[in-house]
């Protein structure tokens, strides 16, 4: 600790970045845009010259150059290798992004997803040639039904938000079928942004409900708002404060009593997988993020997969396609007919995120029922361990134990001149990805920490020691050091306001990018 303040003062001036001729700093390598590395005519792909033949493009030949740069394979491999080296990832270290469940991504899942029998099959092949694919989907659905306790699961949604949309659409379809035109969706203030956005996309009006002092839905306020115009409650459980909605049964009863449906955002399913079945909580629809609980890699922003478990009242409205068992084995029901006559229709091209299904099933089979239960327990244990390790220095927003993630707010930074943002950025220099900041919105300067079950105790201890150490420093008043953070990354704090004021969203030959790069 002592060495630190001294070192901070000894912190090199920004001009240190001029310290090398290349701008490279040892293993930290600068990299221009591919457009700035163009060698006209080069290509990293060798293709034969097409046989001469008469064009049938009907005069629509593309005549202007496209403007793509020419690079050889070595240049492209080096370019993207260097870019990757500017990223932090789960593979690099602890990634405690609350609400994101950044757990280890097993490599066997990647290998399985690349088997030609899964990766090299076309969605429109005849059913007889894709029985194994349908079997895989059916097997995954079976697992998800048992894990949620719900009778049906719609697999086509492409991510969590898409799953929310699917769920809300089935709810609206069910109500409409009853000739019931309810217009309002109740959404707690702590909800993730996709919840209200989804409800709106589904044509609904949003009615926010407050949290109580215990970080849960204010049951009284909820009941007060429930009425004939409420189509559904969209609740996240465990919620975004990392807490289990302990009055959830009362909530469900109230919602149903009001003739509304109970939608649950299952993004935080990791806390309860294998231990609690949403069906037992009175939930009518719930989406799961395979890219969270079931470890399909987040890939720097996707792809994901957001299957939705549906109660009987909603199941018949599930989106197309359906996988059905028939005399000729498994097949796809792709049109609003027969069993699927009441479907909301199609939500996506083809049949869903097959590549993610394979990874998720590989993950599920690897854990088995026993392993999944252990996942939930270790996830909750790790979060609570961090909670107590940090309790001394940070300010926990809601007392008591948490589920898979723990929420702090910025009270501990009061009067230090250090903001939640500064604090998080200083973690970056320490080699950690920051926790989720300023979400949920129900507390001030939120810091939401989710370690996941794939972190070792040693890893948690190092993180806790660091956070505590930084908290002490913040209180000891080294504002400059925090404002200056991060100091050790390929780029220091980036000007987001400036970026939004004058958006530069693509490279242009004459754009500043070029100069900037010289």
């Amino acid at each position: 600790m002592t060495g630190w303040s001294q070192a901070l003062s000894a912190h090199p001036a920004p001009t240190e970045d001029a310290a090398t001729l290349t701008g490279n700093r040892g293993l930290q390598l600068e990299e221009k845009l591919i457009f700035e590395q163009d060698s006209a005519g080069l290509s990293g792909v060798d293709l034969p010259e097409p046989p001469v033949h008469k064009s049938r493009l009907g005069g629509l030949e593309r005549r202007e150059p496209i403007g793509l740069p020419g690079l050889s394979e070595p240049q492209v491999v080096r370019h993207f290798t260097r870019l990757s080296q500017k990223n932090y990832a789960i593979d690099s270290g602890l990634y405690p992004l609350g609400s994101c469940t950044m757990k280890h991504n097993p490599r066997i899942n990647e290998k399985m997803a690349r088997l030609p029998g899964f990766a090299d099959i076309h969605p429109l092949q005849p059913a007889s040639t894709i029985q194994g694919a349908l079997e895989l989907i059916d097997t995954l659905a079976h697992w998800l039904k048992i894990l949620t306790g719900m009778p049906a699961v719609a697999l086509s949604p492409a991510a969590g938000a898409h799953g929310e949309l699917c769920g809300m659409m089935t709810i609206r379809a069910a109500l409409t079928a009853q000739g019931d035109a309810r217009q309002r969706i109740l959404v707690p203030e702590s909800a993730h942004g996709t919840n209200p956005a989804t409800a709106a996309t589904c044509g609904y009006a949003i009615d926010p409900i407050p949290n109580n002092a215990r970080g849960r839905v204010d049951l009284a306020a909820l009941k007060a708002k429930l009425g004939g115009d409420v189509a559904a409650l969209m609740l996240t459980n465990p919620n975004t404060c990392g807490l289990f909605e302990d009055e959830i049964l009362e909530i469900a009863t109230a919602v149903h009593a009001a003739g509304a449906f109970f939608y649950c955002d299952g993004a935080n399913f990791n806390a309860i997988v294998g231990r609690v079945r949403p069906a037992d909580l009175g939930i009518d629809a719930l989406h799961l993020n395979l890219h969270k609980t079931f470890s399909t890699p987040h890939g720097g922003g996707g792809p994901g997969s957001g299957p939705v478990a549906l109660a009987t009242a909603l199941a018949s409205h599930a989106p197309l396609p359906w996988v059905v068992h028939g005399d000729k084995g498994l097949s796809l029901l792709e049109h609003a007919e027969g069993l699927a006559a009441r479907t909301i229709g199609r939500l996506k091209g083809f049949h869903g995120q097959m590549g993610m299904f394979v990874r998720a099933l590989s993950y599920i089979m690897s854990h088995g029922a026993d392993g999944l239960k252990q996942v939930a327990e270790d996830a909750v244990l790790n979060a609570n361990y961090l909670r107590v390790r940090l309790a001394g220095t940070l300010s926990q927003s809601y007392p008591g134990s948490c589920m898979h993630e723990v929420l702090f707010d910025d009270r501990f930074l009061k009067d230090t001149g250090v903001t939640t943002l500064d604090f998080a950025k200083s973690l970056i220099d320490e080699g950690f990805h920051p926790m989720t900041m300023y979400f949920p919105l129900v507390v001030h300067g939120a810091l939401l920490i989710e370690p996941t079950e794939t972190e070792s105790k040693a890893s948690l201890d190092q993180f806790a020691d660091t956070v505590n150490g930084l908290a002490v420093r913040a209180k000891s008043g080294d504002i400059a050091g925090f404002h200056a953070a991060p100091r050790l990354t390929p780029r220091r704090r980036l000007d987001e306001t400036g970026a939004a004021r004058k958006p530069l969203l693509r490279w242009r030959p004459e754009s500043p990018s070029r100069e900037a790069a010289e």
Binding site: I66, G67, L494
Partner: protein
């Protein structure tokens, strides 16, 4: 369990530190009636050997496209993806990182997205593009919603040449957002008549259309703009833009495309990557993420996610879309593959595809009873057969040829399309494949 680093000793020690006597105590908030010791009737944990065996067995029950003469398109295309692409997207720093909300720790992903956006804009001939959406079909629905926001008009006209899945997804979204959708009937080979009025928010066309037909939509664009409507052009085979006049040059206002054809495998339909491009003037109405250039404290160029005020995590119910997770890694694969191809590679790839399709079309149209319906096309076309196309597809499959898509699979209600077969050829098709196909087809129709 190999993925769980906690030992029983760790767990005991941590529980003690927490002051809990058992793990159950931490689940005390769960209503007693909902607590479970565990789940019954489900298999237990398995090792890699067992999992690999079981999944390989399932995979072996499918016929991989690469193992047979293969001619299926219809919105997903089998192209060669260089080994370097898969190698690079599997680097842990790309594969296991989250959405780049912390730019200082994600310059790699952000710069790649900035390059991706530029590539998409260039390819489509548009001014700006976003950092990807789920797929082409949802991108199309988002485009319709965007047109609605921009024009404040309530009707979307969908061309009969639009991919049925795109049409259906637009319809599903519209049905709930209160938009009226007018979907024209498919009319392979025939130029359709598109009417606009001052309630029309947008017209959605596809190029090449679902039946492979290429059209210049410039005139329609002009009519749309006169009427104050937007022209949305969907592209389901992105490789076509290596040879075909881009939507931007036809006056499109928004382009919604499927990017799978570059960098991504067939994957039985997903994950794919939705491409979304538009005019700069509408940038604040664009759905999804945008990577933008900026500078850091030291004045050096860097990248961030920008214009987030459009997005759900800031704008909530007023966001331009509810999308959060998109198709990041597929977009990266697209960007890497296209960086490898470059101008020379992509244009040649497109020409190869067109050449293969022309070759195939001639061969198949020469089969007695077969008629080529599509006039001008890129790498896919429609045939009229003397027998139901569905039957032909089945029999061909039995003969080990995956010969295409029967229109009836997507339009079961349209008897007039029962004999219509969609056939595609890419650079992966060999002369031998083409021979096997035409021989098999001739045999069937003999």
């Amino acid at each position: 369990m190999r993925y769980l680093p906690l030992t029983p000793a760790d767990r005991a020690e941590m529980l003690a530190a927490i002051g809990a006597t058992s793990i159950d105590e931490l689940f005390a908030d769960v209503p007693a009636t909902a607590r479970r010791a565990g789940l019954v009737d489900l298999p237990l944990a398995q090792g890699e050997i067992e999992v690999e065996r079981a999944l390989s067995k399932m995979a072996a029950k499918n016929i991989a496209a690469g193992s047979v003469p293969f001619f299926i398109g219809g919105g997903a295309y089998r192209h060669h993806v260089p080994a370097a692409v898969d190698h690079l997207i599997q680097r842990g720093e790309f594969l296991t990182s989250y959405t780049p909300y912390q730019p200082e720790l994600a310059q790699g992903t952000l710069q790649a997205l900035f390059e991706f956006q530029t590539q998409v804009a260039l390819l489509t001939g548009m001014e700006v593009a976003n950092a990807s959406l789920y797929d082409g079909a949802t991108a199309c629905a988002e485009a319709v919603a965007m047109a609605h926001r921009i024009t404040r008009r309530g009707k979307a006209v969908l061309s009969g040449g639009l991919h049925p899945h795109y049409r259906e997804v637009c319809a599903t979204y519209a049905q709930f957002s209160g938009l009226e959708v007018e979907a024209l009937d498919p009319s392979p080979g025939i130029v359709e008549k598109i009417d606009l009025d001052n309630e029309t928010a947008c017209v959605v066309v596809q190029n090449p259309d679902f039946f492979g037909e290429l059209r210049d939509w410039s005139a329609l664009a002009a009519r749309c703009h006169q009427q104050g409507a937007l022209l949305i052009v969907a592209v389901t085979e992105i490789v076509s833009l290596g040879a075909v006049k881009p939507p931007g040059a036809m006056g499109a206002d928004i382009v919604a495309a499927e990017g799978q054809g570059i960098g991504n495998a067939l994957n039985f339909g997903g994950p794919y990557v939705g491409l979304f491009a538009a005019r700069e003037q509408h940038v604040r109405q664009i759905p999804g993420r945008l990577a933008g250039q900026t500078t850091d404290t030291d004045g050096r160029r860097g990248w961030v996610l920008t214009l987030s005020t459009r997005e759900q995590h800031i704008r909530r119910e007023k966001a331009t879309s509810n999308i959060c997770t998109n198709s990041g890694l597929c977009a990266l694969a697209f960007a890497i593959h296209l960086a490898l191809l470059g101008e020379t590679g992509l244009t040649r790839l497109a020409r190869l595809n067109h050449a293969a399709a022309c070759n195939l079309a001639d061969r198949l149209a020469a089969v007695p009873g077969v008629r080529l319906v599509t006039g001008s096309f890129f790498n896919e076309f429609a045939l009229r057969l003397p027998i139901p196309a569905a039957e032909a597809v089945t029999v061909l499959a039995e003969k080990g040829v995956l010969g295409g898509v029967a229109a009836s699979r997507l339009y079961p209600e349209r008897d007039d399309l029962a004999d219509l077969l969609l056939v595609a050829a890419t650079e992966m098709v060999t002369q031998q494949n083409i021979d096997s196909y035409s021989d098999a087809l001739a045999e069937i129709l003999r």
